[in-house]
């Protein structure tokens, strides 16, 4: 029998606000244990949570970007469970009236285009971190992360393959980063994904019993876990056994999932309305102002760059992979740089310099005017491409003054035809061997000669001009 895998995702995203969702403690990652805490986020009796306006804005912006309808009258609920990472013994979340519902995300995979429906998006608080000390057999609780704002984005069971899941997560991450609502760092846990998976005979429309997989810390882990879990379930069914609805934990080292807890007996969350937080009522004016302020997203930019500038698909993809890069590109074009030149510099030198420094595009000092100036000088023939790359390296970290650097180091391209001619003639006279080789048909000898002339002129000549002059002299 052929089997079909059916997958739905629950993605938790930590929002990039300065403060926690219900108190004014910092959300900074790390920090000494329990130093980002107060009576609200440690669950002290009598403490009053107050929702951060930024969390509401970010959640609504995300809902809008994912094509959801925004819930005009929304509220919070308590989800009750006992686990020491949650000091109040309940998590403030949204069950009955989540902030956004019924969205859709279009994805593209090698197998074709698909639409993934978004069931809902809600706001909630993150839990703390537990560390077990095997020596004392005690568990240490660090509540720094407790109360960090999360949005949980729940899809319908619309995925059939791991490729689709990864394509969706990449698109989601790109969108969230463009909106500036999260940095989406999987390794720091600011984007976490639970995978709900079941299998059914191909062609069947009912849903099989599903399991939920947790602890998936990378796209690679997600893809492997999906393959393993689907195989495990199919094997069980084919052996005449049944799949049990449960939560399973992915073990990266063992390349396998194992059962955490059975859903049937553990999960009775006894949700009820959160009395400490008044409801939220959103006006049409508020929604309109957020809609108007939505940035152009990556996909729209790619489409526009292709249409307006005729850039290849690959270039469009590369320069929109990060909002800061796209903004740099648009800045360059606005300052008159030819779009293809701008794209080349970003894909080559800019990405190279960032990766060599282990930096993110948003943290770079380089501004559009600096790079635009460099591109213009190359275009005017006042700087050759190789020298321009050296100048780029020199100004990249501090957004230094391109013209000042060129002046200081005497790097401006020599457009003194007579000098190039004279130097070329001298080099030819001094190297009869290469001249003979060239004339005997060894094209490579010309490269060596160009190199010598460039060295004589300290790299300031235009290599194309040198090449042309040498060919002309050698032909005589």
């Amino acid at each position: 029998m052929t089997w079909e895998t059916v997958i739905g995702l629950e993605t938790h995203v930590e929002l990039a606000t300065r403060t926690k969702i219900f108190c004014s403690c910092t959300t900074r990652f790390g920090g000494a244990p329990n130093t980002h805490c107060c009576p609200v986020c440690t669950g002290m009796p009598g403490a009053l949570p107050v929702l951060s306006r930024a969390v509401l804005d970010y959640a609504v912006k995300t809902g809008l970007a994912l094509g959801c309808s925004i819930t005009r009258y929304s509220k919070f609920d308590r989800k009750n469970y006992f686990y020491p990472d949650l000091p109040k013994a309940y998590q403030i979340s949204q069950l009955y009236l989540p902030i956004a519902r019924d969205g859709a995300v279009d994805i593209r995979t090698p197998a074709g285009d698909r639409t993934i429906r978004i069931h809902e998006l809600h706001m909630e608080e993150d839990a703390g971190k537990l560390v077990h000390d095997p020596w004392t057999d005690r568990t240490q609780i660090d509540l720094n992360r407790c109360g960090v704002p999360l949005i949980e984005i729940v899809t319908e069971p619309d995925f059939r393959t791991a490729d689709e899941v990864i394509a969706y997560l990449e698109k989601l991450r790109e969108t969230l980063r463009y909106l500036g609502v999260s940095d989406c760092k999987m390794q720091e846990g600011s984007l976490r994904c639970d995978v709900n998976l079941s299998v059914r005979p191909m062609g069947s429309t009912g849903l099989g019993v599903r399991t939920e997989m947790k602890n998936l810390n990378s796209f690679k882990a997600i893809a492997r876990a999906i393959a393993h879990e689907a195989d495990r379930q199919i094997e069980l069914i084919e052996e005449g056994k049944r799949v049990i609805q449960e939560t399973r934990r992915w073990d990266e080292n063992k390349d396998a999932t194992y059962a955490m807890r059975s859903k049937e007996d553990a999960q009775d969350y006894r949700y009820f309305p959160e009395p400490d937080l008044p409801p939220i009522e959103l006006s049409e004016g508020y929604l309109e102002s957020l809609r108007a302020a939505q940035p152009e997203l990556a996909e729209a930019k790619r489409e526009r760059y292709r249409r307006m500038y005729g850039l290849p698909e690959y270039d469009c993809r590369m320069i929109t992979s990060d909002r800061a890069l796209a903004e740099l590109f648009e800045g360059l074009v606005e300052l008159g740089a030819p779009p293809k030149q701008g794209a080349n510099w970003i894909m080559g030198e800019v990405l190279g310099a960032l990766s060599a420094r282990g930096k993110e595009p948003k943290d770079m000092a380089l501004t559009p005017p600096t790079l635009a100036r460099l591109i213009a000088l190359v275009g005017e023939g006042r700087l050759n491409r190789n020298t321009a790359v050296k100048v780029f390296e020199a100004v990249f970290d501090t957004d230094g003054d391109v013209d000042a650097h060129i002046r200081e180091h005497g790097l401006e391209q020599l457009n003194d035809d007579a000098l190039v001619r004279e130097t070329a003639a001298r080099v030819l006279a001094a190297d009869p061997r290469s001249v003979a080789d060239y004339r005997a048909g060894k094209e490579k000898a010309l490269g060596a000669l160009v190199g010598q002339v460039m060295r004589e002129l300290k790299g300031r000549a235009d290599p194309r001009a040198v090449n042309a002059v040498l060919r002309e002299l050698l032909a005589q």
Binding site: P33, V50, Q140, E281
Partner: protein, 95 residues
């Protein structure tokens, strides 16, 4: 609604409580009484009335995203039964 011993056991499980047999009997009777209050409310005809989650006429109580200093760690840890000076300590809870 009938409160049974099984239901009390279930609630104890969810609340991490261990009760003696006698306490369970007390609890069953008390819960029965508490839930009986709800039956009084259930006598009211609420057809066409919007369910209400809050009794105060408040909405949109929000704060700005401005960081304030957190509480002194020693003071927070002092509120817990056990700590090691950096973290709260509880019996083994990690799987």
């Amino acid at each position: 609604m009938k409160i049974t011993t099984e239901l009390v056991d279930h609630i104890c499980g969810l609340s991490c409580l261990e009760l003696q047999t006698e306490e369970k009997q007390d609890m069953t009777a008390q819960l029965e009484q508490i839930v009986a209050y709800m039956d009084v409310l259930n006598e009211l005809d609420t057809t066409g009335i919007e369910p209400m989650s809050h009794v105060f006429p408040l909405k949109n109580v929000l704060r700005e995203d401005e960081e304030l200093p957190s509480q002194d760690r020693a003071e927070l840890l002092a509120c817990a039964p056990a700590s090691d000076g950096e973290a709260f300590l509880v019996p083994k809870a990690v799987e």
